[in-house]
Symmetry: C2
């Protein structure tokens, strides 16, 4: 079952059923324009990450502003984008199941698609899928550049894996993925800059080693909303994967306090209980807003704090002199945008207090 | 978009696409039987909470074992159950939006439905909806019995609100809801028992005060998987709302270590990277398994720990001598069952290593 759309175009924002995922379209367009202008000026390609928005609509808006394609984490996300006409997709992740790889091979007939590997065994699996489907698949080598998650751990391993890929008739070597997820959320800008300096040097080393072996590296891809200026300035990255900049969230807001990007994503909530003084309850708990990176903020309502989340309830604490009443509506700023979006089937696009458009979170829940 | 079903009946469990929500049907049936037997012996009604399972299939299995109806938190959940033939539904929550109340009034024509109030303003709204739809709605008074969330704060307020409801021609007074959510998760059994003793005394006081004013209290409803024995033993509760017992989770497993209920819910995951010694990465992060009540446990794989969750990745740490290989499959035990279920569109029911049935999480995402 899909959720019912919580609104229709033409409604006042006050009439939107809650909880609902609101997008302030002015702020969204500001963010899209701002990042496009940055990339043009920096002379770097933008391949935004669709794990944030999960929406072909936003992917096409990004493409119209110059984005070269999209990143995804999951095959199901790639399918949703490919079926909606996104022409170039990078799966920034290892795919190891033969059934999933067969789906990737099938997609390669309708879109340019690439994926990552960090192990010769994974390359074997991708090669077998390409051979079975009589297609060629593009594979990037993922480097572990500090997140300590997936990725090869040394330049030598990266080069060996690239040689393995480049030597296969069924595969194309697509370059290097060097994404430092952990660095995005470091609070201190200098710490982020230093982390990305190390990332860029590691990537540069691999590119140089590959060149010495006669292998061109067509792409070095990475970066996120927390660090993209430094990847862009490094001279080694060829494209940026930032995703969260379209929406922002409370966590990124603490990292980038300047209004370079505006908060465009909100969850609309309604006060459903105010039985006790100083406390109120809204109809949105952590089933409706992600709390993995901290609790939501209450937008433009000084003195009101979202103090705790249970599954379906959010408890608000009101400072002295602040009163909330039953039925009152609030905008919540998610602590973390990506998993919040993934809770909803619909975006409600608002502008100047009115619902302008409602469109699906088309890749919501596409985890496989 | 719905997720594709990750399996078909007749498949081996090893073939299920991951991440997937697995239900061990033997364990589920054990849990359903066990709770039904408890309630029969204790002479108390069971109205399980569907916020856990979000599934008419499981609701009907509970009804066949004697459950008198279902609890829900949201109008959208009530609709899914009512449309599937569940004949008696209690919304254990305040509903304050006129549009939502109109939906409740509409449902009252196809099922017995009741909802909660903790404020005269809420009763006014429910009454208006009932009058507009020319129906009568059943309203329970929610007491705050220690969670400090919704609910009236005193016996006097509870009695006054019950009188207000009982005095309305459009409403029926349905009783008292006295659910202590916070008590469910206290680690110490004696602390849970003590908390519920206080809850029961508070409820008894309200029932006695109502009787003194000539108002019968048709139901005292509450309890969860952490405390239900004590509500049942109190002599004042008439029905139990436990929900999580059907599945259990890592958090409840720490509270109820005896194998009274078995873990029946798992997330199947696949190792997608094992590039570095002692670490492996599975294809399920916190978009696929809830971490609000702690990280998942790795089922029956000693030496392997789920050490951290990012959006789409789970990092496993392997003790010395333990090795995971790419493509290897694991069962994860969710830290918290309810929000984990809400991430998925499909249950995959397995028995003895085979997929027996696949059915929808029909009320997935029904937050409004």
């Amino acid at each position: 079952m899909l959720q019912n759309p919580p609104a229709e175009p033409g409604m006042a924002e006050e009439e939107v059923d809650t909880p609902a995922l609101l997008v302030d379209l002015d702020a969204l367009e500001h963010n899209l324009d701002r990042m496009a202008a940055f990339c043009t000026k920096a002379g770097i390609r933008l391949r935004p990450h669709a794990k944030t928005h999960k929406s072909p609509v936003i992917a096409h808006w990004q493409a119209r502003r110059g984005a070269v394609g999209q990143c995804v984490q999951k095959v199901g996300e790639a399918e949703i984008l490919a079926w909606a006409g996104v022409p170039d997709i990078l799966i920034t992740n290892e795919i190891v199941s033969p059934r999933k790889l067969a789906r990737v091979a099938a997609l390669s007939r309708m879109t340019n698609i690439a994926l990552c590997a960090d192990d010769a065994g994974v390359v074997d699996l991708i090669e077998a899928a390409a051979e079975a489907a009589s297609c060629r698949l593009t594979v990037l080598v993922e480097m572990d550049v500090g997140t300590n998650r997936a990725g090869v751990g040394s330049a030598a391993s990266a080069v060996a894996l690239a040689q393995r890929i480049a030597g296969s008739r069924a595969l194309v070597f697509g370059g290097v993925q060097a994404y430092h997820g952990g660095a995005q959320h470091l609070r201190d800008g200098d710490a982020r800059r230093a982390a990305i300096h190390d990332v860029a040097e590691a990537a540069r080393g691999v590119v140089d080693d590959l060149r010495a072996k006669g292998i061109a590296c067509p792409a070095v891809t990475g970066a996120g909303t927390g660090t993209f200026e430094w990847e862009a300035a490094s001279g080694v990255f060829t494209e940026l994967q930032a995703g969260s900049y379209v929406f922002m969230d409370a966590d990124y807001g603490r990292n980038r306090p300047a209004p370079e990007f505006r908060q465009s994503l909100f969850v609309a909530a309604t006060v459903m209980s105010a039985a006790r003084g100083g406390v109120a309850v809204v109809d949105c708990g952590h089933k409706g807003i992600a709390i993995d990176s901290g609790l939501p903020l209450v937008h433009e309502r000084p003195g009101v704090t979202y103090a705790s989340a249970s599954d379906e309830h959010g408890q608000l604490v009101c400072a002295d002199g602040t009163q909330l009443s039953i039925g009152e509506r609030l905008r919540l700023v998610p602590g973390h945008c990506d998993p919040t979006v993934d809770r909803y089937d619909w975006y409600v696009g608002v502008r100047a207090g009115w619902v302008e458009t409602v469109w699906p979170v088309a890749a919501r829940g596409m985890m496989a």
